[in-house]
Point group: C2
Chain length 466, copies 2
């Protein structure tokens, strides 16, 4: 790609503030940013194509720092149920009818949805993530920080899960690093699912390798009651304390959720530079809990946002996650100044890149960095008006007024994936139609098991509410 | 108008549930619904135009039960500030530069924004509401439950506001009832602003008239600290207790906000049939408070949702308000089953019509009622997939996945206002451009005063955050 966007309201996120340039321009050559600055200083002749960025904000592509994309064919399948029903009685009876093709199709649907709403980097957490990378992320031209889910639970029936070490699973994760040694779109990450689901031997081995080779470890940490009970039975202490014993409370850890940690433990994690990821829609909807993003920031820690999965949160849309964490935090703290717009914007740009260890390549706009950027249309009714004096009202509006549909252009790694809110080369309608058809079959096959599982949703259905 | 929508997923909201008809149709003649039922039972020859509603939900138009539309030129102007700064130090210095034309233009912008996101009835609360009705609502063809703001504060400087009875203001409100005696698009309502802002004489007179003529009274009730203090000083008791003394805690009262009421007072209001309106985005963002909608419903009371005003909440979008109250309530109650999707949907359809006293004409789809309805496109990526077996997943998705941009058709009072997401006769771009120009002038004139008021936003601006 070789293009420039000129005359645009530019937010670079370089420096301590948002790096606002009121009449800015960016230049893209191949996969890199070759110009970031004032529009009057760009040499338009250096670029084959010029996009007029008037009435648009141009900013870094958003980063979804914790996402399971392979479930979106189940959108709306597990909502408004008690937390203890969600996995096994609501989602489970339907999800068990999905095959590998369905997961792949879900992943396509999720990533398309995320792209349209401005997400350019997905921190994917999935079983067989290599297939998603090969068949979806790379063909779509989308950046992925991919972790292979390592789950060593062989039996969940007794009081204590039975774990069994699997060298194969770790080896599968390890192969990602070999296959993607040349940094292009793929950043491999280790993915032990959670402390209650992997053996200590595997965790110790992962810790050893991540330390030696400076690689990140993405893990669900302190995600609530079930985990807490398992860990207490198994190790007689909390998740964070046990992880600290393993020397894993360190800056190579990407810790999703963390709402089950005590304040002291959050403080320890923040001080040690653990990378916290909050999933506001998912955790508020599945657990009725506000993710402790604001707490981590206050304690001087690092934080980012994730969309998790659609059957929990309804959508893959990081604009929505930024607004959601801001509103939830304001009510949780009883303080309308909690998590102001500009702080929320940082979480999913600069913050997201730091959490994933990608700060040298993405998350801010700077010459020499990868060209991952989006434009947001300020001409939509819900974004009108935009002024620059005495302050830029469109910055709060980017959090409190957007829906995601305002995203016009999406460039990943220097390639245009979306132009004027439409895909450049992905066949949206073909994939969408296939998704409809396969979902119909999955849900239909699930009918008997779903009714038998008798979750709160079955009650809603009987009452004519769904 | 004379048209039918066929082959659609129809939600009528008649009966106790959502009145779901999987392959439904509606027929519209003049301003009324002439058919609501199964698609196979409609006689297509009765209609001049047939719209194929496949892959769409057809449902009642949404009801915004508390809204001040005339401020949207100030979108993004007062965010992330302490509650006590919001009105006077953040919004005030900018708002004082608006003239009558600006308010009218704001109103146009707000209503267009609301319409595009599926709102067909606005419970407008404004000074000179007659002008908004005459110059905006009627020309736009939009339903309005309009209250003229009666505010009798003549001096706010001392400890206790000085009030002075104004027969003119009440007379202005009264004229609405005379001017719109023939029920078309306009439902007049009394609008005493709040107990701390009107004299007892005026309130008693409004009470007398509303009881005699069976008219509703729309009022801000128990909206927080400032009001509480004024009422305590003036009357030595709480707002709700004083209103009860005036015999106003009755089913003709539409009470916005109510978060300052005690639990006992909420119980009293719910039992007496007071019509509560919660504004989730506005109150969470301005006050850090979750509106007590869930509490009113639990206590057997009536409730609806409002968008309030854009400089507080960022948007006029009732789909967003439904999702916001659901998520906020789940976290407030620490219960993911709190305010499920189907209950949220009722708040802004059937519930909204009951709260405004419009249940005989709108809020549900039934033959003979006014034709206020919308279609929602389920083919958007963020709404995919939609299944009907073993339950209708698109019902939770209408709350947890929509953004408002999925609304395709909007019919108000039998007239198509929006078709395929575009206005039929409103010149969107002309109004939007005018809004941009005037906003630039308002904000620019405000610069010195805004800086002097030195709110938290001024600090953000100095730090390069806005």
């Amino acid at each position: 790609m070789n293009l420039a966007i000129i005359n645009t309201r530019l937010m670079t996120f370089e420096g301590d503030s948002l790096g606002l340039i009121k009449n800015g321009a960016v230049g893209v050559e191949d996969d890199k940013l070759t110009f970031v600055g004032k529009s009057r200083n760009i040499d338009e002749e250096d670029y084959e194509e010029i996009i007029d960025g008037s009435d648009h904000v141009t900013m870094p592509g958003l980063i979804d720092a914790h996402v399971h994309t392979s479930l979106s064919l189940l959108r709306g399948s597990a909502q408004d149920v008690p937390e203890k029903e969600w996995m096994n009685r609501a989602l489970g009876p339907i999800a068990q009818n999905m095959d590998e093709e369905d997961h792949l199709l879900s992943s396509k649907l999720s990533i398309m949805e995320g792209l349209k709403a401005g997400t350019t980097t997905f921190a994917e957490f999935a079983r067989d993530v290599d297939r998603l990378i090969k068949d979806v992320y790379i063909p779509f031209g989308v950046r992925v920080a991919g972790a292979e889910t390592i789950n060593e639970v062989v039996d969940k029936e007794g009081e204590l899960y039975v774990l069994e070490r699997s060298e194969d699973k770790l080896a599968k994760n390890e192969r990602l690093f070999e296959d993607h040694a040349e940094k292009g779109l793929v950043e491999p990450i280790y993915g032990p699912q959670a402390l209650d689901m992997v053996t200590l031997e595997t965790l110790e081995e992962i810790k050893r390798r991540s330390e030696e080779k400076k690689r990140r470890v993405h893990m669900h940490v302190a995600q609530g009651g079930r985990e807490e009970e398992q860990i207490k039975r198994r190790y007689g202490k909390s998740t964070v304390k046990k992880l600290d014993e393993l020397d894993m409370i360190q800056e190579d850890l990407i810790a999703a959720h963390c709402h089950g940690a005590s304040h002291e433990e959050k403080k320890l994690m923040a001080e040690r530079g653990v990378n916290m990821v909050g999933c506001p829609s998912s955790i508020s909807m599945i657990d009725g809990i506000v993710p402790p993003v604001k707490t981590f920031l206050e304690l001087g820690g690092k934080a980012a946002l994730g969309s998790d999965q659609t059957p929990g949160n309804g959508a893959h849309n990081i604009f929505r996650e930024m607004r959601t964490i801001s509103l939830l935090s304001k009510c949780h703290e009883k303080d309308p100044t909690a998590l102001p717009a500009w702080e929320a914007l940082k979480l999913s740009t600069k913050g997201g890149s730091e959490v994933l260890g990608l700060e040298d390549s993405v998350g801010t706009l700077k010459e020499g960095k990868k060209a991952d950027l989006i434009t947001v249309d300020l001409k939509k009714l819900n974004m009108t008006p935009s002024v620059d004096v005495p302050f830029s009202n469109f910055i709060p509006n980017l959090i409190y007024s957007t829906t995601g549909y305002e995203v016009d252009n999406v460039i990943v790694n220097g390639e245009e994936v979306i132009r004027d809110n439409g895909f450049v080369s992905i066949d949206e309608e073909k994939i969408r139609k296939k998704a409809e058809k396969r979902a119909e079959k999955i849900f239909s096959r699930a009918e008997v098991d779903w009714l038998e599982a008798d979750s709160e949703m079955v009650k809603y259905q009987r009452e004519g509410h769904i």
